[in-house]
Symmetry: C2
Subunit: 349 residues, 2 copies
């Protein structure tokens, strides 16, 4: 079994730097588009066989060191009772937008196996199919990032409605966040119980805050989840699974982020990773941080950038190579394949 | 004359912290909307009397310490020969998108008085109307930020076409940037000659780069402009005007930004301003950095945040209070009025 990824998460010695790619099971792969041609996005998420099929593709095609479950961070919003639709080219639509005490009150904190059993089924299926080749990562959105979609009713440019709720009606925001946090905590426990060997919490929009607002309105809920997961794992499991915390636009927030209690911190590309390691306190395991659009560079330039990141990250307690954000659909797959080979080759030296 | 703003720019002692607000002449003001009801956005930019009228509004209404010319950073794109339109609720449209050697070749490096004389006329008119009440700030987009609009044909989510040009066709990007940089340099000189008493260079999208890419593909052109402006001012003027450099999402890039050669550095709200001062080298004049959406907080909370920023910025060589980005249209004007009063009152103590 290739357990390089799990060892790196724990800060143990590894023979080379493991790599996986955010959104590695995605539209840039023709093999993914072939499956997607037969089913819409939400059907793919809700059909364990299809989700498992596309999850496996990058393991074979890229040779990455971990699989990450194909799913979407908005699945729990549907389970909580909000209408959830995806339309080609328009992004997600959630309705009604959650902006009143009444809409918050109607939201459920659902039983994950009952309402999102298809996710856990996909995990169980994948563990069998992977048969130990590489570990399987489960994931969820962080409460704040999940809540932005629920409040805005979709994606947003400046998160006006979200910040207005936070700044104008902090008690309403807290009530919503209690439900979202409870839901995501139980969802991650269910994923781990089903066989996820690591979990990543995505706080994609955490970077829209000032440091003190980030601590109060985003980080505090992530800390609550991680604390809860840790005491639950201590009771329920012989070995805890690593927890990765990824925040988008991290650069101004690293001194806050380091208190999350995660095992691994995801770093986006807008900061030098050695600077991030230092600001995380010097003893962190980090994941990242190549600009996803660097994948359009000629291969020799990609290699220069990958080598620079590997060198800079050598100051960390552990490093998992990744892009600083999801791979974009227009990316040439051969460049991603080349990147995986480069990272393995260079880091073996 | 209130020259607190200019003194702060030069790092001189001031009786209180000066404040102005990015996009202070804007849609959040009913008085602005009244003018805008009579003319479309581009007509307002191109009519010196209308541009001057809305530029003056926040001086009377808010009591800010500087006026900033009402205009748009895309005006030079039109002067270079690209089609420029603004449609309500859709953002700017630039056509054709500049993505080929042919389209770059057709672009002009125009004479600013000939092609954008309405801007310089507005400046001359404003200097008369202001009659020394407060200084007048001129501005332009930084070459990279301007080029993103020219390449994408408008706004963008991930700047795919821009980064593809940079990474796939660096010589084409350099040719475009030579023309944009030349245009903006001459445009800023013309603004200063017409009477602008400070200039701000907006690199709103600079934060989409990794630090080394930012240095190479954005900062290098800003340095060229600032160097050129400085030697021109030395020759042509008895006293140089201060140059402010604002970058969006600065947090990971401050160690690069500090080499720009500007007098003042704009800081967005995603980082504590004392941290920014330290990372700019400790001897910087800074401008910022309240989250624009904090303007939805109750006034006592706005005051807490303003006081915190004033306290943190006391480590700087000089501080000009501002929001970390433009004020949003939904903002209650009375909160902006209150902010100006607070900053003056607290900093006088």
């Amino acid at each position: 079994m290739n357990d390089t990824f799990l060892k790196a998460c724990r800060g143990e010695k590894v023979p080379y730097t493991p790599i996986w790619i955010m959104r590695q099971a995605g539209r840039y792969l023709p093999q993914y588009r072939a499956v997607r041609g037969k089913a819409d996005f939400l059907t793919m998420c809700r059909t364990p066989e299809l989700a498992a099929e596309v999850t496996m593709q990058p393991i074979d095609i890229l040779g990455v060191d971990a699989a990450i479950l194909f799913s979407d961070i908005l699945i729990p919003c549907g389970a909580m009772g909000q209408g959830l639709e995806f339309h080609e080219g328009r992004g997600p639509l959630l309705s009604p937008a959650i902006r009143s005490a009444d809409t918050v009150k109607k939201l459920l904190v659902p039983d994950p196996e009952e309402t999102m059993g298809f996710v856990m089924d996909a995990i169980r299926l994948l563990r069998k199919e992977l048969a130990g080749r590489v570990p399987l990562i489960g994931f969820a959105g962080a409460p704040f990032t999940t809540a932005t979609y629920m409040i805005e009713g979709g994606t947003s440019k400046n998160f006006l409605n979200t910040k207005r709720m936070i700044f104008e009606s902090p008690a309403l925001y807290a009530a919503l966040m209690d439900k979202v946090t409870g839901t995501i905590t139980e969802y991650l426990k269910a994923q781990i119980s089903a066989g996820a060997q690591a979990v990543q919490i995505f706080d994609t929009w955490g970077g829209i805050f000032s440091p003190s607002d980030f601590r109060e309105y985003a980080l505090s809920y992530v800390k609550r989840i991680i604390k809860d997961l840790r005491s639950w794992m201590k009771r329920e499991r012989s070995e805890p699974v690593p927890i990765i915390y990824f925040v988008g636009e991290t650069a101004g927030l690293l001194e806050e982020i380091k208190d999350a209690g995660a095992d691994v911190y995801g770093v986006d590309w807008r900061i030098n990773i050695d600077d991030a390691v230092r600001r995380l306190g010097g003893n962190a395991v980090v994941q990242g941080n190549l600009d996803p659009l660097s994948m359009f560079l000629p291969k020799e330039k990609i290699e220069e950038k990958a080598a620079d990141i590997l060198k800079r990250a050598s100051s960390a307690k552990g490093h998992i190579f990744n892009l600083g954000h999801g791979v974009v659909p227009e990316t040439p797959p051969q460049n991603v394949i080349a990147l995986v080979e480069m990272v393995h080759r260079i880091s073996k030296k």
